[in-house]
Amino acid sequence: MPIGRLSSAEVEARVVRSLKKRHIKEKAFRAVGLSGVVTGLVLVLILFTSILSRGLPAFWQATFELDVYFNPEIIRIDPRPTQTSGESSGDFRERELAWLTQVNMVNWNRLLEDSVIAAAPEAAAMARRDVRRLITSGERFQLREMVAENPSIIGETRRLRLLADANVDVWLRGNIDRSLPDAQQQLSRATRDLADKLFEEGIIKIRFSQALFMNPDSRSSLASAGLAGAFVGSLFMMLIVMFLAVPVGVASAIYLEEFAPKNKLTDLIEVNINNLAAVPSIVFGLLGAAIFINTFNLPMSTPIVGGLVLSLMTLPTVIIATRSALKAVPPSIRQAALGVGASRVQTVFGHVLPLAIPGILTGAILGVAQALGETAPLLLIGMNAFVTNIASTPFEQSAALPVQIYLWQGNELRNFFEARTSAAIIVLLALMISLNAFAIWLRKKFERRW
């Protein structure tokens, strides 16, 4: 009904009536939106508090501070070989290896047991096995390395920090029910009592632990298991993604957006790129195993294969982000450049690209961050293997951060590794957050308005 036929009073009445409705609608929509945000925040908060409360304690570990006497009675080794003139380096290496084997055969555990007994004399009456269980087994290699590096410390006493066994850590912090009967405890009563006493005397303290950051994974010495190997593996993969997926992705996006003719073929490519972005990541893992490992004979469980697979996976994300960043540059910029006689390439590289850079960088970094957290494809190329080396090149076997989390959550010693797993999640999250923060900072820095 045309409004012109109504009197002004009628119109006003109508408007007033509809106004109320409109206000209600607006309020309802706001409420829905706000509650969405609040729900999201609450969920994130729950996630973070649960991970932090479980994981943060794992950054501190029960640690001994012990005087270790490098007893010459126990460490009976020849002097370290030196290269004589005329000896080939191969021969020398052989002699050195023989010497290292000898150093290795020393009963280092005995030194550790003796140092505990020196600190707590009543331990002398205990079974050696019960005393040995206090200190995590990997620490004996610390002593070995010290002697191998500098044999002159034999006969001296050094104050060392040694990690306690994982089960001692669990016991002292009450992560196992302390009231359980002996049959359900991991440590013998004697070991538990001794641990308690040493803890009271301050010989064992809960100290900030570098092991989590400095050591690779370990299964024979659970308390010294760390993330260093996984971190380096992930770092290599990130570098490969950055230097492979980002340039290729940005180049193809620029070509598709600025130079490619609009025809059926480019439409098809565009549809396919969008589809690829939605392909589950595990498919890329299968593809990687088939192509890179079986066809190109690249070694399994290596960051190079992981990096290539993740690059494939990240490529569509980078292309899409770059294209939308390019699209967001107003056509007037291009027209102006072309209008004053710039070529297409000059227009793109001199004018469009600089304006699109913040968007491109954000897309690229988010793509890399996504790749950092990806687990499924890595399982298929053997990166869930147990690796105790820290890789020095991308062609060496390595662990990766997200896979390390997966491995730790499967470790048998639940009481110790539940916290360890959450600690690894915290490290991964911290990396993600810093990458995302970097993306935001870059966007702010390069952002231009017009």
């Binding site: 024979s220 492979l244 004979n297 390439v345 293997a385 080396n389 470790n411 010693l413």
Partner: protein, 345 residues
């Protein structure tokens, strides 16, 4: 297209090509894969091996189940195939054949110890004294009743035997990708179901179907992952009874209680003596073609079989392995030194 862009393209193509064209590199560390039951033991040995021998790099140990490991093992010979497959069951004739087809002819079998399979439930629930027939009746799809086979009617353990706790039946068992499943079927289900006359009267094929067919109504849960997943099931379903390796149970004694089978409590002693009925030998298989090509394989095997590594009072025993007897150890070691191989039959 500008010159600059083209050079960029070429450069990229060259980098990619270069990384692909890398020849299959010589590998200098041993690669192991297979059974998740053997994984903890193999990992400990690998780590200690790497720590003890300065001249060898630490072996890399992956899981994937016994079947998965042997499949990878039989993919062929070459640096991008694994050197050693861990297995919680003996290799099958079909697998040896597949290996031979792919050119793997020298398979050395190393038996390094035993593992017990235990039934465990949550520590805060009723305790179980099981017999194989109880487990069969709880999990089978069809059970004998009044001389006929009927669809499994049992919903509570107490209905099967009044001595069992009055708890809902939920049985968490390993899926068929695990070697454990085979032992479970052979030593528990088949033993249990043969105690019934109705079953014994059936033909071999039918009997197998009855003995091994598991009910599909959600009371039997198959776990394809590792024991942590089984433990998580027990956390979620308090009444559940799970199948674990002895070593896993051992490290989680505060949360789990173990069931006796035929009145025997599983332990290092009862399993070692064979008194506890559900145990199995653990193996790893070594690719003979790789010995001498990948450095350290023979040394790794010898190190693994060393008494101080896998014998009594060794790190592996501490981790839950049931060690070999002295005779077994020396036979296996001399078999390996003679480089005896597994034959296809």
């Amino acid at each position: 297209m500008s010159f600059k862009q083209r050079t960029l393209g070429f450069a990229l193509a060259a980098t990619v090509a270069a990384s692909f064209a890398m020849p299959a590199m010589a590998r200098d560390n041993i690669q192991v894969a297979g059974s998740s039951t053997v994984l903890p033991f193999a990992s400990i040995v690998a780590e200690e091996f790497g720590n003890s021998f300065a001249q060898f790099r630490t072996p890399v140990v992956a899981s994937g189940g016994s079947g998965g490991g042997l499949r990878q093992f039989c993919n062929g010979v070459g640096v991008n195939t694994i050197d050693i497959a861990n297995s919680s069951r003996a290799i099958r004739a079909g697998e040896v054949q597949r290996c031979a087809e792919a050119g793997v002819n020298k398979i050395h079998e190393i038996h390094f110890g035993y593992d017990g399979i235990v039934f465990a439930s949550r520590a805060d629930r009723g305790s179980f004294a099981l017999k194989p027939e109880h487990v069969f009746l709880a999990g089978a799809a069809r059970v004998p009743q009044d001389g006929r086979l009927v669809n499994n009617p049992y919903t509570r353990w107490s209905q099967i035997d009044s001595s069992l706790p009055d708890q809902a039946i939920v049985l968490v068992i390993p899926a068929s990708n695990h070697g454990t499943r085979e032992v479970y079927e052979e030593n528990v289900l088949e033993v249990g179901c043969k105690t019934f006359d109705v079953v014994s009267a059936l033909s071999a094929d039918e009997r197998k179907q009855v003995c091994l067919g598991q009910r599909q109504d959600g009371r039997v849960v198959e776990i394809a992952g590792d024991y942590t997943e089984t433990l998580a099931r027990l956390d979620a379903q308090a009444d559940a009874v799970g199948v674990f390796g002895l070593s896993f149970y051992d490290q989680n004694r505060d949360r789990l209680q173990v069931a006796t089978v035929n009145g025997v409590t599983p332990s290092l002693e009862t399993i070692g003596s064979g008194e506890y009925p559900v145990s199995r030998p653990l193996f790893f298989y070594v690719k003979g073609e790789h010995i001498g090509v990948v450095p350290g394989i023979a040394e790794y095997v010898e190190y693994f079989l060393n008494e101080q590594v896998s014998g009594f009072d060794s790190p592996l025993e501490e981790a839950g392995l049931i060690p070999l007897s002295d005779e077994e150890r020396s036979t296996i070691l001399s078999n390996f030194r003679a480089r005896n191989v597994v034959s296809a039959n």
